[in-house]
Symmetry: C2
């Protein structure tokens, strides 16, 4: 499911995540990442604005794939069912990224500036899903709430997924989170 | 419902929001805010780390009041009902802040750095509510989801409230958002 990426970009991501894990995120410099990847700092900055961006390389792909799945869902689906049409492709996309995601999750917990970026990306995701629901003719209020509910389900499931060893468990955690969200809101 | 605040702090908030509204947030300096309040920059920095913080003066109060209401809710309430015990005091607290909130909402939309802070504060709110639910003996998964649902309901209702003229409408918008969240998740 991974989109084609230039070899240099993949090498930089791999080198960065290894260094972040071994030495700590704060302590790792762009120069060290470039060197470990056998590339120059200049090449690094061709792909990433800063070292933080290495951790968010998959975010646009996540948003695009989720939005595309909602847009392509059968027109008679409820707003929430249309949002959930994104869960299969997203869960599939992340299977091979489990090791990366686990390291990344530890970095996010430890670094406020990375947490900030994560929150902004999740908000962008919610806005993008809301917008595609509006395009489907959903009214603004249910569109916002279904989009936020979808992002909450994803975020909570993702948090569980990085805390355990099975790379394929994300889809199941999404279903569980959705059931639990239904259950808490209706109780 | 407003907690007592030093007169200088209230004057600085009033002066800042007036200047932000009239001249724009970006264009307003701390020196101008202090001058308009008849105070020094030094006094400003006794109360606020930067001009952005003026917009988040009520955030800690919001979190404290919501958490206190959840903690004080009858022990037999469901997690979501305990979360919703915070809605009455929060809505009451905001009635007299409607004019401020409307100007603030326009600033947030226009300034990414303020948006970031807003997202972080909302995330802190969700974490604080989750933690007090854990203290009440709620299991981690329902605690996270009920807390996130509560913050979503608050955030969506708040967004509607600042777009219309009735300062007392927030409580009603909260109920409507909660009903809509239930409705979209169960559909």
């Amino acid at each position: 499911m991974t989109r084609w990426k230039p070899d240099a970009q993949l090498r930089l991501i791999g080198a960065a995540i290894t260094l972040f894990d071994e030495r700590g995120y704060e302590e790792t410099t762009v120069a060290q990442i470039a060197q470990a990847a056998g590339l120059t700092k200049r090449t690094f900055f061709r792909y990433f604005a800063d070292k933080r961006e290495v951790l968010f390389n998959g975010s646009n792909e996540l948003i695009e794939d989720w939005v595309a799945a909602v847009a392509a869902a059968p027109p008679d689906l409820s707003p929430m069912a249309a949002v959930c049409a994104g869960l299969d492709p997203i869960a599939a996309m992340f299977v091979e990224r489990h090791a990366f995601a686990r390291i990344r999750a530890r970095i996010i917990v430890a670094n406020p500036e990375v947490q900030e970026r994560e929150l902004i990306k999740l908000q962008s995701l919610a806005v993008a899903i809301k917008d595609v629901l509006l395009d489907r003719g959903v009214s603004p209020n249910p569109a916002i709430l279904a989009a936020q509910a979808g992002v909450t389900v994803f975020h909570v499931a993702f948090g569980r997924w990085v805390e355990q060893d099975d790379p394929t468990a994300l889809r199941r955690f999404m279903d569980e989170s959705l059931d639990e969200l239904r259950s808490v809101t209706t109780a």
